[in-house]
């Protein structure tokens, strides 16, 4: 795995998506290399969240292809895609509010049948997210936003995914939790999980990403190594202009 150009794990090629008459994506092409963090930047209504839905099979494109580990996902249902090794941290967490924290985390292992290993993984999550230990039997809906984000990440990891897709993981969190979440994403990635994240908070996302894409009204307008984009004046103007970061 030490080749200079890592092989792609996930690719979207020439994806065109429509909601009724309205076109959301125009020939969208994105590659996530194995072991990388890739970040999709864009403003409101640029088609970011729909990109997540396309990867997860919640929305199907009119044309184009999505492949994961060399195999097309186009004809698969969401549960089938999850079983291929893609986990998700949905926008606004989307925990099962009336289930306990423990049940929420274990729901992440729904596709697994190795009970003992699942129990071990649960313990591992509690070392990774020590705060959740005291909260296990609490209703998930009663946690703070930051704690809920931890549960959502633990839940995603429980399926032992090869890739996690995250929709705005820092949205609505306090600055303290924003740093913590970014750190955790890095940790998860270092353990070999590829990450595809959608973010509005460009400067933070570019801190941790390997590559980034900038989406504008359904078209990729810029892409490249995160470091390069960070200094790109066009990104600066569009996203880093104000001091709204963090």
């Amino acid at each position: 795995m030490t080749t200079s150009a890592p092989e792609p794990l996930l690719t979207l090629s020439d994806v065109n998506t429509f909601y009724g008459q309205a076109q959301v994506h125009f020939d969208l092409s994105i590659t996530v290399a194995r072991g990388h963090i890739v970040c999709l930047l864009g403003g409101n209504a640029s088609g970011k969240s729909t990109t997540m839905k396309i990867i997860l099979g919640l929305v199907k494109p009119r044309s184009g292809d999505v492949t994961f580990d060399g195999a097309s996902l186009i004809d698969l249902t969401t549960p089938q895609i999850v079983r291929r090794g893609i986990a998700s941290v949905p926008e606004a967490r989307r925990l099962f509010a009336d289930m306990s924290v423990r049940e929420n985390i274990l729901m992440g292992a729904f596709v697994r049948n190795d009970r003992d290993a699942v129990a071990q993984d649960l313990d591992k999550m509690l070392t990774l997210f020590p705060k959740l230990g005291q909260r296990l039997s609490q209703r998930a809906g009663s946690l703070s936003g930051g704690e809920q984000q931890m549960v959502a990440m633990a839940r995603a990891l429980m399926s032992r995914p090869r890739m996690i897709v995250m929709d705005e993981p820092t949205m609505g969190l306090s600055p303290l939790y924003v740093d913590r979440v970014l750190e955790l994403i890095r940790t998860i990635n270092q353990e070999g999980v590829s990450v595809f994240m959608v973010e509005q908070n460009a400067s933070l996302a570019l801190e941790i990403a390997h590559e980034a894409y900038v989406l504008q009204t359904g078209k990729i307008v810029l892409s490249g190594p995160a470091r390069a984009l960070k200094d790109d004046p066009r990104v600066r103007d569009a996203y880093l202009g104000g001091s709204e970061a963090a």
Partner: protein, 608 residues
């Protein structure tokens, strides 16, 4: 007297247990798919008849009977889910609701055609002894029902809490998309839920049949209604709430019967429902933070572009129908068309209320009943000329109908349908029980025939013209209304009531206006019908008619004036043209509804 109170309590709890078996199924289904399954009572009916076949024809022992009923009912549930509802997953939200109504008509009619509508005895196979408990008595069947209720509740609890599929069901109920992203196959969850709900419902039907030692096809609608009441009282989608709501309902009914008599049983059930809907629409046990389980904005009705019919074509069609009696057409054809015009008036009313302003009423026949009784009593008791009496019926329907529905103006979506269904039942039960005015179960006979300015309209031709002209006038008024600013406000409220409110529209005022206009049209139709039939009672205008009207309106296209009339002519006329026997008609209405929902939800002429 003290001792019998205990008996009434035991009876209430036993009946409550039976309701719980139905209501828990409804709650599971509502939880997972936000759908009120109006076919639940039909499965209960099917369960009872399967039980009858097993007990009376196959002589199976009781435990085996229960297993057979549970398994066969579950199979029916699975078939309904797979072929009736799964194809509708991506359609408008009203589609599955309408589909379950269609399915229930089809199932009920199939049972009726197979077993005849006559009641049958369903022996319980248990020894007929009663034990003294305190001051009351309890029999083996009571214990069986309590045992089945408790065992099912316990099994369900363990299943939901500890099995993988149970977790999947709970997760799906809380967040469908998120559950899918955990790898939950939502179709399997739906399947499981329908299977469980149907098994419970079927067993419930079996037990009720044994309890009263009688089954008949009228059980179905009653069971659906009671189950819905219990479920909504407990909080839609809340499984433990459904159990408590059921026991509460059983007790309320039992005590109500103890104090007021048997004919009041259902009245209490529906009053309880309306009170809960108005005061605590999320049920007695919902927490305050809970969001209303309905979409806030309207995707409830299939949007479409209505078919434009040129004015000259409408004029030609009206002219043909107007001069029809001059041609040698049979009395039979005129009679059929008179029925179509009367149904057309009801459909105009419903298409305005359900289609234009988006309040899908399932109790519209109550407006007919109010109009009919008012007109009949005015002409009989006060000797008011029939023409005026009919107008009085229309006005009374407009006023009373609007007053009755107004507490539910704050409800949305499915809840409006439930509330209107309940109000429809309440009207019919009040007619049944208010003997001093309505003559109760005897009904009103000797209603004077139609007359206008002193001339009796007795020939079919004159009745035909009279009803046709009245309908056309109402249709023109309504078309005028829809084109006005008021019509646009109605549609704005239907499409997005929050946005409409943000623009300063008072929802209550506009809903009232729609119900006043709609109530008037329906009341006129009921009034004319009363003088045509010369005899009416509390069952003349029943839920079947409400559903028929809804089918007409959907067939024509919701909100579509011309569509309502075309739908009425089609649904009244076509069965006559093809000489379909009466007992098959309702079956056909059910099938028409199912096909429409599946293949042309916008109706023939499109929604407006």
């Amino acid at each position: 007297m003290m001792s019998s109170w205990l008996d009434y309590t035991i009876n209430g709890l036993i009946v409550g247990n039976v309701y719980a078996l139905v209501a828990v199924g409804l709650a599971l289904i509502f939880g997972v798919s936000r759908l009120i399954n109006f076919a639940q009572g039909s499965i209960y009916l099917v369960g009872a008849y399967i039980g009858w076949v097993a007990v009376v024809q196959l002589h199976t022992p009781l435990p085996l009977t229960i297993i057979i009923v549970a398994a066969a009912s579950a199979l029916v549930g699975l078939i309904i889910e797979r072929f009736g509802l799964r194809p509708l997953q991506n359609s408008v939200r009203i589609a599955p609701l309408l589909a379950t109504i269609g399915i229930s008509f089809v199932l009920d009619q199939l049972v009726m055609l197979t077993f005849s509508p006559n009641p049958r005895a369903l022996p319980s196979q248990l020894p007929d002894v009663r034990f003294q408990v305190g001051g009351g008595t309890i029999g083996p069947l009571d214990l069986l029902i309590a045992g089945v209720g408790l065992t099912s509740a316990l099994l369900l609890f363990v299943f939901l809490r500890y099995s993988k599929l149970g977790w999947a069901i709970r997760a799906t109920a809380q967040d469908r998309d998120a559950a899918m992203q955990m790898g939950v196959d939502v179709n399997r969850v739906n399947q499981a839920v329908f299977g469980i709900a149907a098994a419970l419902g079927g067993v419930s039907g079996l037990l009720v049949g044994m309890y009263y030692n009688q089954i008949d096809t009228a059980m179905s609608l009653q069971a659906t209604l009671k189950g819905v009441v219990a479920e909504v009282v407990g909080g839609a989608g809340n499984v433990p709430g459904a159990v408590i709501g059921s026991l509460l309902l059983g007790l309320v009914e039992s005590y109500g019967v103890a104090v007021f008599g048997t004919s009041y049983r259902n009245l209490f059930a529906f009053l309880l429902l309306v009170v809960v809907l108005v005061l605590r629409p999320n049920g007695l046990f919902a927490s305050a933070r809970q969001a209303p389980p309905e979409p806030l904005t309207g995707t409830f009705i299939a949007p479409s572009r209505p078919v434009r019919i040129p004015r000259w074509a409408l004029l030609v069609a009206a002219a043909i129908f107007a001069i029809l009696p001059f041609f040698p057409v049979s009395f039979y054809v005129l009679q059929t068309l008179i029925n179509a015009w009367l149904l057309g008036m009801l459909a105009l009313s419903l298409t305005l209320v359900a289609g234009t302003i988006g309040q899908v009423s399932l109790g519209h026949a109550a407006l007919l009943a109010i109009g009919a009784y008012t007109s009949a009593l005015l002409s009989l008791t006060f000797a008011i000329p029939v023409g005026l009496a009919i107008i009085g019926g229309g006005l009374m329907s407009a006023a009373l109908g609007t007053a009755l529905i107004s507490p539910s103006f704050r409800l949305r979506g499915h809840y409006v349908s439930i509330a209107t269904l309940a109000i429809g039942e309440i009207v019919s039960l009040v007619i049944l029980n208010w003997e001093s005015v309505t003559r109760g179960p005897i009904g009103i006979s000797g209603i004077p025939p139609l007359s206008l300015f002193g001339y009796e309209l007795v020939s079919p031709t004159s009745i035909y013209w009279f009803s046709f002209i009245v309908m056309v006038v109402l249709a023109l008024l309504q078309a005028r209304l829809l084109g006005s600013h008021l019509g646009r406000s109605f549609r704005a409220i239907r499409d997005d009531d929050i946005a409409a409110r943000a623009y300063g529209l008072s929802l209550n005022r506009y809903k009232s206006l729609a119900f006043i206009f709609g109530g008037f049209a329906a009341g006129i139709s009921g009034g004319i019908a009363a003088h045509l039939y010369s005899y009416i009672n509390h069952e003349t205008f029943n839920t079947q008619q409400s559903i028929l009207a809804l089918t007409v309106v959907i067939l024509g296209g919701l909100g579509n004036v011309v569509g309502a009339i075309v739908g009425a002519v089609a649904l009244v006329g076509l069965p006559e043209v093809f000489r379909i026997a009466a007992e098959y008609r309702i079956l056909i209405y059910g099938i028409v509804l199912l096909l429409l929902v599946r293949f042309r939800p916008q109706g023939l002429l499109g929604t407006m």
